[in-house]
């Protein structure tokens, strides 16, 4: 009897998919994929690339192992790995759009993505409209005849607003528009946008997928062969590919994705509940709290709430700065999704490039703090916050 690999549990796939030991003659049976550093591949026959490999930019065995593993985890047919999340995004935009095309994007996107849209792609004649995608009808109303993409993050960064992926996909499918979902904040362990109807999933694999804050990367997952071929063509043509070494580190991180994410979530929920009743905190935003306005949607479309939460400190920006600088276990740093806890002040750090009036309008106040809750012992995280808030 052969086991059905399609029905393997998430943890089993995270460990085994893409990394089957090679038992062919001359192969070694190694149980961990080697780091194939070769940039070029020799062939015996002029017209036959050996095993499909020609040049590492087009395909590399270590990168392929990662691409297959990520595809298995997102229930996708195809995966592609890039040198950063933004490289993945740029390549998708170049692959799927032509000048004159229109994008409908969530107004609470990651600042780097907005910068890519506003400062780079707008120069090439792409048109972009931002809407509050928490309201599906606003997305629908923004779609025009030249709209090619709807681009959302759910939950969003840093306000953790949710979009109803299934409802939006029903609209985009009806209108012949491609739905792109950035799944970085939850990872496939907690959310599978393709299963909910999205066409393209994007990841910054620097975050939870890599998980150790030591490797940049991006990924694109699709089910449709035609999209895959177009994006793969551009992956090779543009060349923003993930290095074999970084592919390996990312693969290594994925093996513990399930165990890490369980702990991230458990800690985040605990901290969210702790902060909710703290006298110096005016507001806590975490999809796992019943107080989150979209808690029911979170329960319906995800299998977990992730490890990121935001909260507002009472007082001024100086109170927020004092709190951040007093922390010992939480490192004051941008990025998220690593095993170690990170904390930041979006108004002065990740979202400083967003104009203050825009920040105020979408809810990124001066004292809003974003936490990427790590997998340390919860008692140590709580005591750190407690002493810094005191």
């Amino acid at each position: 009897m052969s086991l059905n690999r399609e029905t393997f549990g998430f943890a089993t796939k995270a460990i085994h998919a893409g990394e089957e030991p090679d038992f062919r003659d001359g192969a070694t049976g190694d149980v961990v994929v080697p780091i194939h550093l070769s940039t070029t591949f020799a062939r015996k026959k002029v017209t036959e690339p050996t095993g499909g490999y020609e040049y590492t930019r087009s395909l590399n065995p270590t990168r392929k192992a990662l691409e297959e593993k990520l595809a298995a985890l997102e229930n996708a047919n195809y995966g592609l790995a890039f040198s950063s999340g933004l490289a993945a995004e740029s390549t998708v935009l170049l692959s799927l759009l032509n000048p004159g095309d229109h994008i409908v994007a969530f107004d609470d996107l990651y600042g780097g993505t907005k910068r890519l849209f506003n400062q780079v792609f707008s120069n090439f004649g792409f048109e972009i409209s931002y809407v509050d995608a928490t309201d599906t009808s606003l997305v629908e109303n923004a779609i025009k005849p030249n709209t090619k993409l709807v681009w959302i993050e759910s939950p969003s960064n840093p306000l953790l607003k949710l979009s109803d992926i299934k409802a939006i996909s029903q609209i985009t499918h009806k209108r012949g528009v491609v739905l792109v979902v950035d799944n970085t904040f939850l990872s496939p362990y907690f959310q599978k946008p393709l299963d909910l109807g999205a066409d393209v999933v994007i990841h910054s694999s620097t975050k939870y997928i890599g998980g150790h804050s030591d490797v940049l990367g991006g990924a694109v997952l699709v089910n449709d062969l035609a999209y895959y071929e177009r994006i793969q063509y551009h992956q090779n043509a543009v060349g923003a590919v993930l290095s074999p070494f970084d592919s390996y580190l990312t693969l290594r991180g994925v093996k513990t994705l399930a165990v890490r994410l369980e702990k991230h979530q458990q800690n985040a929920l605990h901290i969210a509940e702790y902060l909710s009743v703290h006298s110096k905190v005016s507001k806590v935003i975490y999809p796992g709290l019943e107080s989150h306005p979209q808690h029911e949607l979170a329960k319906a479309q995800t299998t977990g709430f992730g490890g990121v939460l935001s909260f507002e400190i009472k007082g001024t920006i100086d109170n927020a700065k004092q709190f951040l600088e007093k922390l010992n276990v939480f490192a004051l740093a941008e990025s998220l999704g690593g095993v170690e806890s990170l904390i930041e002040l979006p108004s002065l750090m990740t979202h400083a490039s967003v104009a203050k009036e825009v920040r105020d309008q979408i809810g990124i106040t001066d004292t809003l703090v974003r936490l990427s809750v790590g997998i340390e012992d919860i008692e140590d995280l709580i005591s750190d916050i407690e002493q810094a808030l005191a």
Binding site: F8, R252, V339
Partner: protein, 402 residues
């Protein structure tokens, strides 16, 4: 040096942060890999390792390296040890310890069942240096007492031992060793610091093969010795630096990265092992299952007392083990038929008793053989339960067994 005091913090916090202060120059949050073999020094730096003191500047990577040092600090924090020295492999660590502590004319009492490479070293290399060796079943304190001689300098145990998963009472053996003026070394590879901290129970040295649970991903060899500064500072100068079995900075970094998830991995290894052990125990083709977390383990009470986590190693006997080993090698699909253990992947390997008794465990007494036979019979499958979903591991075993 680490500025933060980790002694009061939890295991998972230590696993992530100990040894890994942000880089003082770049403020990099994740540790760098420092591959430099040599370091620019002051004109008056000494050329002999004898001049090396604790806060000396970095000189040469075999003597010490910033990345390796970070790993050593992390290991020491987890074992609550004063200090740690990392090596290129577990055997590299064992060799450095044995040849540092023992000289010609000394006597070593060692467990009669250990990792086979160590047993083989105790059969040949150690006696060839005119060091006396007595192998005893260390799960029996009386056998240890009987083996002690005036020249006994070291008692060496593994708990749980490889491959039988027989346990030794560390606190009790500490008493015997210290009464006799000998040191106690404990190989805690199978337990990990998440389960057991032998130094807190009185042991003088802890040994780890970092290749196993601590590294955890099957991609970096490494070993370590942990203990007091008074004991390990001279060891570093002598057998570590001079025998040269030091760990590569790259492996040190990979192992550090592995340790960040050690506590949560161990929780799942144990959870999965409990499920798989219970499933094996009720299977009609399984003759015997040995797992410290099962009430059927003959030392389950000791396991509960000495291990906070029963770890992920199971051994079991099947009818016709040799034949079943071939079937497993061919038919298992998730579980890899391969040596080593403690990885994210499940690994299984058959150990035929007759072969092992001839090559490695040459028992001196009928009691030793009887204990082996009780645990292992004609042969055992050593099964390292991985982090996959337990249901998938069981389904794979089932399709290969049925």
């Amino acid at each position: 040096m680490s500025k933060t005091d980790f002694s009061g913090l939890g295991e998972q916090t230590k696993a992530i942060h100990a040894g890994e202060e942000p880089d003082p120059v770049t403020r990099a949050s994740a540790p760098s890999i420092n591959m430099s073999t040599t370091f620019v020094v002051e004109a008056d730096a000494g050329f002999s390792v004898e001049s090396l003191d604790e806060d000396a500047a970095w000189i040469y990577t075999r003597w010490g390296n910033p990345t390796i040092h970070q790993l050593e600090l992390k290991l020491a924090a987890l074992e609550q040890a004063e200090t740690a020295i990392a090596f290129a492999s577990g055997m590299g660590a064992i060799t450095a310890l044995v040849f540092h502590l023992l000289k010609a004319g000394d006597h070593l009492v060692i467990s009669d069942v250990t990792y086979a490479a160590l047993t083989e070293m105790a059969n040949e290399m150690i006696p060839e240096l005119n060091i006396e060796v007595t192998k005893v079943n260390t799960s029996d304190p009386e056998a240890i007492k009987a083996a002690i001689k005036p020249n006994t300098k070291l008692i060496y145990i593994e708990t749980p031992c490889n491959p039988l998963l027989r346990l030794t009472d560390i606190a009790e053996v500490t008493g015997i060793a210290h009464q006799a003026g000998a040191k106690l070394a404990v190989d805690s590879t199978f337990a990990t610091p998440i389960a057991t901290k032998p130094l807190l129970l009185g042991a003088d040295f802890v040994i780890h093969s970092l290749t196993k649970y601590l590294g955890g991903h099957g991609d970096a060899l490494g070993g370590a010795i942990l203990g007091s500064k008074a004991a390990l500072t001279p060891l570093r100068k002598k057998t570590a630096i001079r025998l040269g079995g030091v760990i590569s900075p790259f492996n040190a970094w990979l192992i550090m990265r592995g340790i960040a998830t050690l506590p949560i991995r161990m929780r799942v290894h144990e959870e999965n092992a409990l499920k798989v052990a219970a499933w094996l125990e009720q299977h009609p083709k399984v003759k015997k299952v040995i797992y410290p977390g099962l009430p059927s383990h003959p030392q389950h009470e000791l396991a509960k007392r000495q291990m906070k986590n029963f770890s992920g190693m199971i051994t079991f006997q099947l009818e016709n083990g040799n034949k079943q080993a071939k079937i497993f090698a061919e038919k298992l699909q998730i579980i890899h038929y391969a040596v080593s253990l403690g990885h994210h992947r499940s690994l299984i390997f058959y150990l035929n008793s007759a072969d092992l008794l001839e090559s490695s465990f040459k028992f001196a007494t009928p009691e030793q053989l009887a204990s082996w036979n009780d645990f292992a019979g004609e042969g055992i499958f050593r099964f390292s339960i991985g982090l996959e979903d337990a249901d998938d591991i069981i389904a794979d075993l089932k399709q290969a067994l049925d």
